[in-house]
C-alpha cells in the first residue's frame, strides 16, 4: 500500500522491541466480541491511483459543472473566477498540511495570514474587528444570534423573511435552545416592516442584504430602531463581492456582520467547504465565537502573531465556552485572503462593478420578455423574476436546452412562479443571449 512505509521486517522488529508476539496483542484491551475480522467488512481491497481516479471521475462526469453551460444560479453560492495563483498558493505544503497554529513559533505563516484576513474582513464589512473564520455563512449567522443573546441577556431574535431559508433553519436549530426565534414572512422584492416586532425582549434583528431575492436593503432605519430598544442589528451578506459597490453594513449601524466568503477564492463545491466571516464592534470582542489571531512580540522583541483571547474557547473554558467550535475554515480563509490581495482596492471595486452591470443587462433583457417581470427594484448581481408558470419546471426545461437558469424560489419554500437569477463576471454576452432565447422558447 503506497501510503504505508512500514515493511513486514520493520513491523517484526518493532513488535520485538515492544515485546509482544503480534499486533493482535496490542489490541488485547478490546473485548473479543468487538474485534471484527477483515471479512466482517464488506469493502473492496486497495486500489492504485489509476483506478481510483477512474472511479471518481465517473462520479464527476455525471454532474453539470457551472463552467460547462450558461450558468445563472446563486441564492447563497456564486460562480466567480478564481485566479490560478490562489489555488497554487493554498496547496503549498506548509499551508495545506499544517495543523491549527497552536505552536506560534513555527506557525507564523498561518498566523500572519489570519491576521491579514481579519484586517481585510473588517475593512470590507466596515466593522472594527473580525475573527479568523467560522464554518460558513449559515453557521456564522447562528453564532451571531447566540452572541447577541449573550451580550444583551435577552431571549428573542427577529429574523427577516429575506434571510435565506436554509440560514433561518440553521439559526432555529441551535438558537431555539437558548431563546425564542420570530421569523417574519417573506415578501419577495420588497423590504418588510420589521420595526413593530422589536421590543424590550429583543436581543437582535437579523437581516440579509442583498437578501435572498437579491434586494438591497436600507439598513440604517432598522439599526436605529433596534438600538432605540437596546437590541443589536445583525447583518448577513451571502455575496461578499457586493461590498465593493454597496455601502457596507458597518457604515449603516450594524453591530455584528456575518458573511459567506465563498465568492472569493473558493469554488462552489456543491455547498462546502465554504468560509464564514464574522465581524463585530470592538466592545464585543470578548463575546465573539471562534479563533482570533493577535499581534504581539517574541522574546527578542520582534513582531509576531498568536491565537489570542482563547479563554473564550472550548479547549480552555469547556462547558463555559462562547462556542464549541474548534476546527474552522482556515484554508478557505487563506484562499479568500489571497484572492482579495490579488484584487486589491482597484480590482475588487472593478469586479463588483462588472457583476452589477452584467446583472442589470440581464434583468433588462429578461424583463422585456412578455410575461416575465423583474420584481427586485434594487439589486447587486442577483434578482428575482416572476414567470407566468412554475419556475421549477422552467428551470428543468432550460436545463434540457443546456442553460442553468437560476434557483427556483420553490426550492427554498417560496412561491412557485419566482426564479432567483444571478449574473457574475463569468457570464458572457453569449450566455445572456442563450438564456434569453431559451426562456422565450419555453414560455
Amino acid at each position: 500500500m503506497r501510503y504505508l512505509p512500514l515493511t513486514a521486517d520493520d513491523r517484526a522488529a518493532m513488535l520485538a522491541k515492544i515485546g509482544v508476539k503480534d499486533v493482535d496483542a496490542l489490541f488485547r484491551d478490546v473485548p473479543k466480541s468487538a474485534q471484527a475480522p477483515r471479512e466482517a467488512f464488506d469493502l473492496p481491497d486497495a486500489k492504485g491511483e489509476i483506478e481510483v481516479e477512474r472511479i471518481l471521475s465517473r462520479f464527476a462526469a455525471r454532474n453539470v459543472a457551472a463552467s460547462d453551460v450558461p450558468f445563472f444560479c446563486g441564492a447563497g453560492a456564486y460562480k466567480h473566477h478564481v485566479p490560478a495563483t490562489v489555488d497554487h498558493l493554498i496547496q503549498r505544503s506548509e499551508f495545506l498540511t499544517s495543523y491549527t497554529p497552536y505552536q506560534p513559533e513555527i506557525s507564523q505563516g498561518t498566523l500572519q495570514a489570519l491576521f491579514e484576513f481579519q484586517t481585510q474582513v473588517a475593512a470590507l464589512t466596515g466593522m472594527e474587528v473580525a475573527n479568523a473564520s467560522l464554518y460558513d455563512g449559515s453557521t456564522a449567522t447562528a453564532e451571531a444570534v447566540l452572541m447577541a443573546m449573550r451580550v444583551t441577556k435577552r431571549p428573542k431574535a427577529i429574523l427577516s423573511g429575506g434571510l435565506h431559508k436554509q440560514y433561518i433553519e440553521t439559526v432555529e436549530t441551535v438558537a431555539n435552545l437558548h431563546g425564542v426565534i420570530k421569523r417574519a414572512m417573506a415578501s419577495p422584492g420588497r423590504a418588510e416592516d420589521l420595526l413593530p416586532l422589536i421590543d424590550d425582549q429583543t436581543a437582535c434583528v437579523v437581516v440579509q442584504s442583498p437578501d435572498v431575492f437579491g434586494l438591497i436593503r436600507d439598513l440604517k432605519p432598522l439599526a436605529d430602531a433596534a438600538h432605540a430598544k437596546g437590541a443589536l442589528l445583525v447583518v448577513v451578506v451571502t455575496e461578499v463581492v457586493s461590498l465593493g459597490l454597496i455601502t457596507p453594513p458597518g457604515e449603516q449601524g450594524a453591530d455584528i456582520v456575518v458573511a459567506e466568503g465563498q465568492s472569493l477564492g473558493n469554488g462552489l463545491n456543491f455547498g462546502g467547504p465554504y468560509v464564514g466571516l464574522f465581524a463585530v464592534r470592538e466592545k464585543f470582542i470578548r463575546q465573539m465565537p471562534g479563533r482570533l489571531a493577535g499581534q504581539t512580540v517574541d522574546a527578542d522583541g520582534r513582531r509576531g502573531f498568536v491565537l489570542t483571547l482563547s479563554t473564550r474557547e472550548q479547549h480552555i473554558r469547556r462547558d463555559k465556552a462562547t462556542s464549541n467550535i474548534c476546527t474552522n475554515s482556515g484554508l478557505c480563509a487563506l484562499a479568500f485572503s489571497i484572492h482579495l490581495s490579488l484584487l486589491g482596492e482597484e480590482g475588487f471595486t472593478k469586479l463588483a462593478a462588472i457583476n452589477h452591470s452584467r446583472a442589470v443587462e440581464l434583468a433588462d433583457k429578461l424583463n422585456a420578455i412578455p410575461g416575465v417581470s423583474v420584481i427586485t427594484p434594487a439589486f447587486f448581481n442577483e434578482f428575482t423574476i416572476k414567470l407566468p408558470r412554475s419556475a421549477a419546471e422552467v428551470v428543468e426545461e432550460l436545463a434540457m436546452k443546456g442553460v442553468l437558469a437560476g434557483v427556483p424560489a420553490s426550492r427554498l419554500g417560496y412561491a412557485d412562479d419566482l426564479l432567483i437569477v444571478a449574473a457574475t463576471e463569468t457570464n458572457t454576452d453569449e450566455d445572456i443571449a442563450a438564456f434569453v432565447k431559451a426562456l422565450e422558447e419555453v414560455l
Binding site: M1, L4, L6, T7, I18, V23, D29, Q35, A36, R38, F41, P44, D45, E53, S57, A65, A66, L89, R92, T97, Y99, T100, E105, I106, Q108, F115, E116, Q118, A122, A123, L124, Y135, Q166, E169, V174, L245, T247, N269, F270, G271, G272, I285, G294, Q295, V297, A299, R302, T308, K320, N324, C326, N328, S329, I338, S341, G344, E346, F348, I354, A378
Partner: protein, 515 residues
C-alpha cells in the same frame, strides 16, 4: 566539528558566523515578511479587468462612498508574500507531526487532484438535482463506506467539523428524548474528554456532569454508576480515550447507559486506532462523529476545513437533520425540507445551509478507495504499532503514567521532570529547535504535565527511530542537569516564545496604519 549519527553537522560552522548580524535583517533562506498592508500601494493590481461604469439606478441609493482600504499589489508581489509566509510554518509534508489527538497523517495529493475535478469543485449546491446525480451518488457511496466501517445503520453527512458533528449527535439525541416525552437534563462526560465535549453539551442546553477516571486512566465504573440516572440524556465517551487507552469496560458501559434509558455518544476523534478492526456499532454506540480530516486524511489546512459526518443507531435514525438522501427508481433524491421527509422521519432541524463538505467527501472517498478495507485495517494497526514502539522506546527515560499497550497515541507525564527545572513546555519547545513539531501538551487534563504523542501510520521506521533518538538525547541531557537548551527554547525557529499575555491584555486584532 560535531556531527550527528547521519554525518551531518549538529552545530553551525562557527559561533561567530551564526552570531554575525546581516545587513538585510534576513538570514539566508529566512526572510522577514511585512504585512500585506505594508507592501501594497495604490495604482497596482493583481488582476486585469475592464473599467465598467455603472449607474445608480438599481442600487437603492446605497452606493459605497468611501474607500475600502485594501492594498494594491501585482501578482508577483502577492505570490512572493504568501510563499515567504508559508516558509514560517511547520507541516506534515516537511516533518513528523506528533500532535496527539490530531492524527496528522500523510495527505495524498491524488485526493486534492480529484476534489478539483470541475464536476465536483464547480458544482452549484442548488443546481437542479438532475444535474447533480454524480455528487449525490458519491455522498451515498461515502455513506456506505462509513456505515460499513462503523457497523451502524445510518449516517448524516452535513456537519462541518468534529465539534459540529458532536452538536449534531447531541441534538439528535435530544430530539429522540423529546419524541418519547421524557425530560433528561444531564450529560455525563469523563474528565479526560476533549474540551469540545462539555462545550457541545452545554451549547445544546444540557448540564455537564464529570465522571472520574481510575488510576489506570479509564472510566471509573463506580463513578459512572453513581452518576447514571433517569435524568441522564447521554454519556459522551472518546474510545480509544484521550489517554490513548481502549476502554475495556465498553460493553458494560453501554449496557449501563442503555438500562438507564440514556444514549451512548462516542467521540470519533480517535477512530484511526480501530478503523477496519472494530465496529463501534458492535460496542452499543448510538451516535459517533467521524473526523474526515483526521482518520481519512483530508488536510488540516492550518485549522480547517474539516468534516464531521455522524453515524447513528436505528433508534436515532428517524431524527437525523436535513438534508436526507433517498434512493429512488431512476436516481437519488435530496430531501431539503421537513414536509418531504419519508414516512417515519422527523428531522430535528438543519446543521448548516446546503449539504455538507462535498470537497472533503471526495478526498475521503479517494482515501478509502485507495486503502481499501485491507489498507484501512493495516493503517490502524501500523498507527497502533508506531505509538507502542514510541512508548516502549522512551518509557525508560520519560515517565508513562499508564501501563501499555496503548492504542494509537503514547502518553507521558512530567514525573520524570520533577526537580530538573525543566517543564513540559520547555521540553516541547526545545523539540522545535531539534526540527520537530511538539507533541500535544498539558492534555489530557487528568495527567500532570501531559505529553501526548501520536506518530500515525505515515512514519517510516527510520523516521520513528530518529525521533526516538532525538527525544532520548534530550531526556538524557535533562537528567544530566544540562538544561541550557531548554531554557527559553526555541532559539532557532522563525520566532522565539511569543508574549501571549500582552496579546490578550491589549488585543491588536488587525493592522492599523501608523498615523
Amino acid at each position: 566539528m560535531a556531527l550527528n549519527s547521519q554525518g551531518r553537522p549538529s552545530q553551525p560552522g562557527t559561533a561567530e558566523a551564526s552570531a554575525l548580524p546581516t545587513i538585510s535583517g534576513d538570514r539566508g533562506l529566512d526572510h522577514e515578511e511585512p504585512l500585506i498592508f505594508e507592501l501594497g500601494r495604490d495604482g497596482k493590481c493583481g488582476v486585469d479587468f475592464p473599467d465598467v461604469k455603472v449607474g445608480d439606478t438599481h442600487l437603492g441609493g446605497l452606493r459605497r462612498k468611501g474607500k475600502i482600504g485594501l492594498p494594491g499589489l501585482s501578482e508577483p508581489e502577492v505570490v512572493r508574500h504568501y510563499v515567504r509566509l508559508s516558509r514560517n510554518n511547520y507541516s506534515i509534508d516537511a516533518g513528523l507531526y506528533p500532535l496527539g489527538s490530531c492524527t496528522m497523517k500523510h495527505n495524498p495529493r491524488l485526493n486534492e487532484k480529484l476534489a478539483r475535478l470541475p464536476g465536483f469543485a464547480d458544482l452549484h449546491p442548488l443546481a437542479p438535482q438532475s444535474a447533480a446525480q454524480g455528487a449525490l451518488a458519491l455522498m451515498s457511496e461515502l455513506a456506505r463506506w462509513l456505515t460499513t466501517m462503523t457497523g451502524m445503520p445510518a449516517v448524516t453527512m452535513s456537519p462541518k467539523a468534529g465539534a459540529h458533528g458532536e452538536l449534531c449527535g447531541i441534538l439528535t439525541i435530544r430530539a429522540a428524548i423529546e419524541a418519547k416525552g421524557e425530560k433528561r437534563t444531564r450529560v455525563l462526560i469523563p474528565e479526560s474528554a476533549h474540551g469540545t465535549n462539555p462545550a457541545t453539551a452545554a451549547f445544546a442546553g444540557f448540564t455537564v456532569d464529570e465522571v472520574k477516571a481510575t488510576p489506570e486512566g479509564r472510566v471509573d465504573m463506580d463513578s459512572l454508576r453513581s452518576k447514571i440516572g433517569p435524568d441522564v440524556a447521554a454519556f459522551m465517551l472518546t474510545n480509544p480515550n484521550t489517554c490513548g487507552l481502549f476502554e475495556r469496560d465498553i460493553v458494560e458501559i453501554a449496557k449501563l447507559i442503555h438500562e438507564a434509558g440514556a444514549y451512548f455518544y462516542a467521540d470519533g476523534a480517535n477512530f484511526n486506532a480501530i478503523a477496519g478492526r472494530v465496529k463501534p456499532g458492535d460496542l452499543g454506540v448510538d451516535a459517533m462523529h467521524i473526523n474526515l480530516h483526521k482518520t481519512f486524511s483530508t488536510p488540516h489546512g492550518g485549522g480547517g476545513p474539516g468534516a464531521g459526518p455522524v453515524v447513528l443507531s436505528e433508534r436515532l435514525r428517524p431524527f437525523a437533520p436535513l438534508p436526507l438522501l433517498v434512493l429512488e427508481k431512476g436516481g437519488i433524491r435530496l430531501i431539503e425540507d421537513r414536509d418531504s421527509a419519508p414516512e417515519g422521519y422527523k428531522p430535528f432541524g438543519r446543521m448548516a445551509a446546503f449539504h455538507g463538505q462535498m470537497g472533503m467527501f471526495v478526498r475521503a472517498l479517494s482515501y478509502m478507495l485507495s486503502h481499501g478495507g485491507n489498507g484501512i485495517r493495516q493503517a490502524s494497526e501500523d498507527a497502533v504499532l508506531a505509538a507502542n514502539y514510541v512508548l516502549a522506546s522512551l518509557k525508560d527515560v520519560m515517565s508513562a503514567p499508564f501501563e501499555g499497550p496503548c492504542m494509537h497515541e503514547a502518553l507521558f507525564d512530567d514525573t520524570w521532570l520533577h526537580d530538573t527545572g525543566v517543564t513540559t513546555l520547555d521540553f516541547a519547545k526545545a523539540m522545535i529547535d531539534e526540527g520537530y513539531h511538539p507533541m500535544t501538551m498539558y492534555f489530557p487534563l487528568v495527567v500532570h504535565g501531559a505529553m501526548l504523542i501520536e506518530p500515525t501510520e505515515s512514519e517510516s521506521k527510520e523516521s520513528l527511530d530518529r525521533f526516538i533518538a532525538v527525544l532520548r538525547g534530550m531526556a538524557e541531557e535533562v537528567k544530566a542537569g544540562k538544561t541550557e537548551r531548554f531554557e527559553g527554547a526555541p532559539r532557532l525557529a522563525p520566532r522565539r516564545r511569543l508574549d501571549e499575555t500582552a496579546a490578550s491584555r491589549k488585543p491588536v486584532l488587525k493592522y492599523q496604519a501608523a498615523e
